[in-house]
């Protein structure tokens, strides 16, 4: 018997029901007002049936087709990151009681979330952030709780957009690990499903699915291979990129980038691996208690490099250099992994079309 199963489109709702009865809130890519992003999913009809996307540097466009597939688009606008490492949240609060003593209260909020449709690059993004928030000397209790209560259903790519470059990093649009279930969509039919964890197996058992046929399994693999072959961006081998970026810290290209870069921070905010954050206090009017918040920060923010009285990266040139060299070089020293997954969001969502792959190639030439 094949170790692949088959979930017909008509039975997606059964899977959602099974997840819900296990206490999960289901989240999936959904179409809303010109874009496809993660949102709560109550029923399969809410999936982005027939929607396709086109992405280019600084360009994103969604079109509706008559195709009968739910995952005919490439990537949702956001990654899974905001579900684990929130854009802004309260981490603790402190109040002064009548005797003047401070009482601290930690805040750890989490819920059981099943993500229906995670692209392989975003799975790798989670793997990289696990290294930052869980498998590090510093453990983030909120991130850990959310990861423990997460059910990941990977969705292998059957298409690439023109900013995709996972293959240039030596990866592929195929989910090889880090999921509970992995699926590949076959048009007009349904999904070839693979089990990736005990949790995934238990869920699948309740659905009593038929095995995928050899033809279906083969068709799924061919579709993933076609998506890989559709990628056109190339980079030197990653080890070479890592070495050359650090050997070219005064390359004239950094000035060229700085003349075009808005330093708006969009690239870092859409990145599935960026983890920088800042903390603030939000006191009440009376000044008797305060919420201590944590929110995403960016190395493009001028305050980010302000350290005991001085701003170290005053010029955009140094902020961009910090971002690129961290993501594509010093990340490995810090976490022993790559810092980029090749999703291409930083290229798509750069308002002035700066393409990270082109910039790396210009510097590593």
């Amino acid at each position: 018997m094949s170790h692949y199963y088959f979930l017909p489109h008509q039975r997606i709702d059964d899977m959602l029901s099974a997840l819900k009865s296990d206490g999960y809130k289901c989240v999936a890519p959904r179409y809303h007002d010109g874009s496809i992003g993660y949102d709560d999913l109550n029923k399969s009809s809410e999936l982005p049936w027939g929607y396709h996307d086109a992405q280019a540097p600084g360009h994103y466009e969604v079109t509706k087709t008559e195709h009968k597939h739910a995952f005919g688009f490439t990537l949702p606008t956001t990654s899974v990151k905001p579900m684990l490492f929130k854009a802004k949240e309260n981490v603790w609060k402190v109040a002064r009681n009548d005797e003047g003593k401070l009482a601290f209260e930690p805040i750890v909020e989490f819920e059981k979330i099943a993500v229906f449709g995670v692209r392989p690059c975003d799975l790798r993004g989670i793997e990289i952030q696990d290294r930052v928030f869980m498998e590090n000397s510093y453990n983030d209790v909120r991130y850990v709780k959310r990861r423990e209560n997460q059910f990941l259903i990977a969705m292998n790519c059957t298409k690439s957009h023109s900013n995709c470059f996972c293959t240039a990093l030596g990866d592929s649009p195929f989910a090889d690990k880090g999921f509970d279930l992995a699926m590949t969509e076959l048009n007009d039919e349904g999904f070839v499903v693979e089990v990736g964890s005990e949790k995934g197996r238990v869920l699948l058992d309740t659905l009593n699915l038929a095995a995928a046929s050899g033809g279906q399994a083969q068709a799924a693999l061919s579709r993933i291979e076609a998506a890989a072959e559709a990628q056109t961006k190339t980079l030197p081998p990653i080890k070479e990129v890592e070495a050359k970026l650090m050997a070219n810290l005064e390359h004239p290209q950094w000035d060229d980038i700085a003349s075009r870069c808005l330093s708006c921070g969009s690239c870092t905010q859409v990145c599935p691996t960026c983890f920088c954050h800042t903390e603030r206090d939000e006191p009440n009017v009376l000044g008797t208690e305060t919420n201590h918040t944590r929110e995403w920060d960016s190395c493009f923010s001028i305050d980010h490099s302000y350290t005991h009285g001085d701003t170290y990266r005053e010029d955009t040139k140094y902020r961009y250099r910090q971002w690129l060299t961290h993501k594509f070089s010093t990340w490995r020293d810090q976490f022993r992994t790559k810092g980029c997954v090749g999703c291409g969001r930083c290229v798509t969502w750069c308002p002035v079309k700066i393409d990270v792959v082109d910039e790396i190639n210009a510097i590593c030439k």
Binding site: D33, R260, C261, W296, W349
Partner: protein
């Protein structure tokens, strides 16, 4: 002098005045819209002048003068100097007080042009602009020293209450330095420039409005003034690439905060 040193002399129960110059009153409403915070604040400070809310004592000695609006008349200058003289600290609120606001567009007009604007706005001839008055609308800081500023058109209740709270703590109010793009991404708002082709000032504008316009599918109007290190040249080039004419680009930048030094550039 650092803000901390400067605020060392703040009274335990400070006296506060709220003043208005040429403006729409929208920034003062940031106080009134959040009535609960205003009532709580009134247990910590004495509000001695705030025409919009009731108390009137325009030239009382105060610790903190909160000023809205721009300076447009000779009478404004005189009144402003009196207020400054009686106030230990001045906090300017909103685009009008900080950059001159939308009325500073008159600074680009000669007398004839101004007259034609007047005719376009008012149904009959009025003496709303008297010949002896100033030919410009300018920010408060053009005439008197200013201690603190909070930008916006209008500012938000959170900004205003947080700023006053910070001053009571003896620290400088926090400045918004990041771009609106950061707020959009935090809120999960899809970029209107990339996905909808809307020219947007968000990449060069300070955040603080929670990306109000992009959340409604529109480009940012730049109400909160320039973000720190705004690359105006690069954004103007992007607008040209999107097909905007030079005049359309000029109109984009010459709007709420036309006098903002951070929004100038080729």
């Amino acid at each position: 002098m650092s803000a901390h040193d400067k605020l060392l002399g703040l009274a335990a129960r400070p006296k506060v005045a709220v003043h208005k110059f040429s403006s729409c009153d929208g920034c003062q409403l940031a106080f009134i819209n959040d009535a609960v915070s205003l009532l709580e604040l009134s247990t910590l400070v004495d509000i001695v002048h705030f025409a919009e809310a009731g108390p009137l004592d325009e030239f009382a000695e105060v610790d903190l003068a909160i000023i809205e609006g721009s300076v447009n008349t000779k009478h404004d200058i005189h009144r402003l100097e009196m207020i400054r003289e009686k106030a230990k600290y001045v906090l300017c609120i909103g685009a009008c007080a900080i950059t001159g606001g939308i009325q500073a567009l008159r600074n680009y007009q000669d007398e004839k042009g101004l007259l034609s604007w007047q005719e376009g706005v008012y149904p009959q001839r009025t003496d709303v602009i008297i010949a002896e008055d100033l030919p410009t609308a300018k920010p408060i800081s053009a005439y008197v020293p200013v201690d603190f500023e909070i930008p916006g058109c209008p500012i938000t209740s959170i900004q205003l209450v947080s700023a006053v709270r910070a001053i009571l703590f003896g620290v400088e109010p926090e400045k918004n330095v990041d771009s609106v793009c950061v707020s959009c991404k935090h809120a999960g708002i899809t970029c209107v420039m990339v996905a909808k082709g809307e020219p947007c000032l968000g990449p060069v504008t300070a955040n603080g409005c929670e990306a109000l316009c992009p959340s409604l599918g529109r480009g940012c109007y730049g109400c909160f003034g320039a973000s720190k290190y705004a690359n105006i040249k690069a954004l103007k080039q992007q607008f040209r690439d999107m097909g905007l004419t030079e005049q359309q680009i000029t109109h984009k930048f010459q709007f709420i905060n036309s006098q903002d030094a951070g929004l100038q550039g080729e």
